[in-house]
Symmetry: C2
Subunit: 496 residues, 2 copies
Amino acid sequence: MNTLEEYTELLARIDRINSAVSLLQWDQRTKIPRDGHAGRAETLGTLSRMAFELATSDRLGALLDELRGRDGLSPVEQASLRVVGRDYARHKAIPPDLFERFTVARVRSESAWELAKEASDFPSFSPHLSEMIDFARQFAELFGYEDAPYDALLEEYEPGMTARTLRSIIEPLREALVPLLRHLIDDGTPPETSFLEGCFDVSAQRQLAARALQAIGYDFRAGRLDDTTHPFTIGIGPGDTRVTNRYHEDLVLSGLFSALHEGGHALYDQGIPDELRPLGIADGSSYGVHESQSRLWENMVGRSLPFWRHFRAAMVDVFPALDGCSAEEFYAATNTAQPSLIRVEADEVTYNLHIMLRFELEQALLSGDLAVDDAPDAWREGIRDTLGVEPTCDADGVLQDVHWSAGMFAYFPSYMLGNLYAAQLYATARRENQDLESSIEQGDPRVLLGWLRERIHRHGQIFDPVELIERVTGEAPSPVHFIDYLTEKYSAVYGL
Amino acid sequence: MNTLEEYTELLARIDRINSAVSLLQWDQRTKIPRDGHAGRAETLGTLSRMAFELATSDRLGALLDELRGRDGLSPVEQASLRVVGRDYARHKAIPPDLFERFTVARVRSESAWELAKEASDFPSFSPHLSEMIDFARQFAELFGYEDAPYDALLEEYEPGMTARTLRSIIEPLREALVPLLRHLIDDGTPPETSFLEGCFDVSAQRQLAARALQAIGYDFRAGRLDDTTHPFTIGIGPGDTRVTNRYHEDLVLSGLFSALHEGGHALYDQGIPDELRPLGIADGSSYGVHESQSRLWENMVGRSLPFWRHFRAAMVDVFPALDGCSAEEFYAATNTAQPSLIRVEADEVTYNLHIMLRFELEQALLSGDLAVDDAPDAWREGIRDTLGVEPTCDADGVLQDVHWSAGMFAYFPSYMLGNLYAAQLYATARRENQDLESSIEQGDPRVLLGWLRERIHRHGQIFDPVELIERVTGEAPSPVHFIDYLTEKYSAVYGL
């Protein structure tokens, strides 16, 4: 066996263990019986550790070193060395005992957060948050950075992105969104949504979600749809990418759009070639690019008039009581803007403003400019300044998101980048495919999906996100397309 | 870490990998999307190999050697050394390259069998059967035996059992069953079953199966019920034992009794203490003892009058059209005897006669007394002599069962032993619990289940099957109780 063969065999082995881990996780969140949880945690621990041991093994390090010196590697093989080598270096940068202490502290911190959120009791979570910040600072130093420690953490989710670049994107975005929101609220006519109030049978909603997935081209022969508490999409292995979803009787759009959102993630996963697996690059280019695929199908497609011209029939088929509603009415009702407290429920106009606040706060927490105990007030102040709303309790404020409790700092920007990438990609797709919107109106997702497969999906992790976006759209990541998209759509819906 | 700790940690690690393997298998047979199968096979291969490598590791051998010399081990620890040591020795007896050749040949053989069965084409399977017999002979020599090579293979499924002992059980059993069957058919009045003909909604049958599981005490908090093609029960891990089942619209009893059968296996699994896992003895005592638990709940309970006095209400609740039928009628209809070709569809009277034929044939195949090419005729002759029926094609004859194609020789007797153990255990349970049948009539499975938990389940693999049966019933495995049980029940149902 030559070096390259040994390298791909080792990566394939890791990929297969991770496939088992994925199934264990999917099952844990969809099917597992109540009494199975404790044992499942042990099994997951053992399997994850086995994958981690291989991914940090000296043998992998030696193989990487040997291959790096080689001539004649293909571009895909070089991409593999870049991605696998980067992950290897990051894993090895953290001493095992520090990582173990972090793992233990994180479990405690997540539990503390859960209780603290339930009781809206920030002080009980505060010491854990301090500890997590402390770990994040240590990790940043160990990973290394050029400009700011934050960049070292950002690298985990958006390789190549920096806090400085983020700021250069955020400023013009904020300057556009804040007045747009004010303009809509002060001068616009919000669309009618009352016809979506009432009680919508959950099993009918489940059917609707399946039809929405079919409508965007999700392949049920290579996946399935199941119920869960917090929707997620998970790649189990070749030919097996699963979507999960939840439904609320009184929120029929919530279940539909989360299905479209997860479906977008799933289309990306289904489009990544299995040949990239034994090279360790069969994932999305970054969290932001992954999010761009979910947001693109959820928002650019799912909240568009062409989509509703087609999908109205499915909606009315499943809920005959909505027969009186036109495609235009559905379309308008899915595009409202309203300042609100909870990020995950925010609309397209306000969503990124939530992210900006978190981006500022987590930078300040990491640098020490903001004391942990002052975080609830800083959050309150920030959301009031940005959106003019104020939480009555910290559960709806600084405690609402799980990320920091799990030590995931610098994760939030990926959500925002996902929205921007989505708009930028969609603008390019429209430009390059004159029939794109008419095909969507006819219920055929293949023009768009084919384009995404060719331009994004099939590359897996071959390109880092900024390079990928530049290659596809001809320009660096920018907020311009998102601002244009939002202004145009919302102005029309709000009659401005 | 001392030796015993290292030993239990290694076994716990194997147990957890096997837990992942179990989930991968369960999912493969219940939930996996069509395109996921190829990748799943790879993942299963990798994980199974990892467990196998640990279970055959030199380290485990050294730990076993160290612990064997120890004084002061508890009886449970000694049982662990016996069972784990036996499996280790059997695994190590086969040279890795021989085992690998077997594994590859087995996959080919199983595929060939599937095609051959479909086309009823024995000659296309014949060379594979020869090959499997050849491997079995080699394995038997490597495992070693006192009396007959067959015993070395039997040890895998029924530790301590021999062909000689089996023959001493089979002869009196045959001498009782053959005339009983003739008497029933010639002189008896078969019960009315026509009210069970017709079309029974599958989702209602699914409900009925769940109620049957509840009726026998299956704990849904520690398990679940799903659809599959060939029903099975699988322990995924602590607190997680899953039942799968299938339903035919025109065979309402088939789905019900397979649920009870699988439920019996599941009750055994749910009753084995998790503390035995890191000792590697958290399984059933043998295949036969496991089968005794499924057959006991399926037949001694599920086909009894007390059970139907209670369960009739559930049946009628789910299928209101059956409201006119009495408990006595249901009971009688579930106890018919009829010679037939297919083992898995055979009734309690004829089932063991199928097994006896396979026992004879596989011994003759292994010894060489029967040439592979003569097997179809030998099967035809045997079934005609025993049951007076004759297959029109080999698919319904020698090709009907998968076992030999997978190299599983000496497996069939466990099915028969399961029936005999079940009757022997049930006779003891009735003797020791005067209220057993009245409790079943009242819909309370706890008297029987509690007794089985105490006498059988909680011991896991601490006792080998013959010792276990003797401890619980006070006598060696015997066909007498089964013959008595069957004669009494069937004479009553057939009005003799």
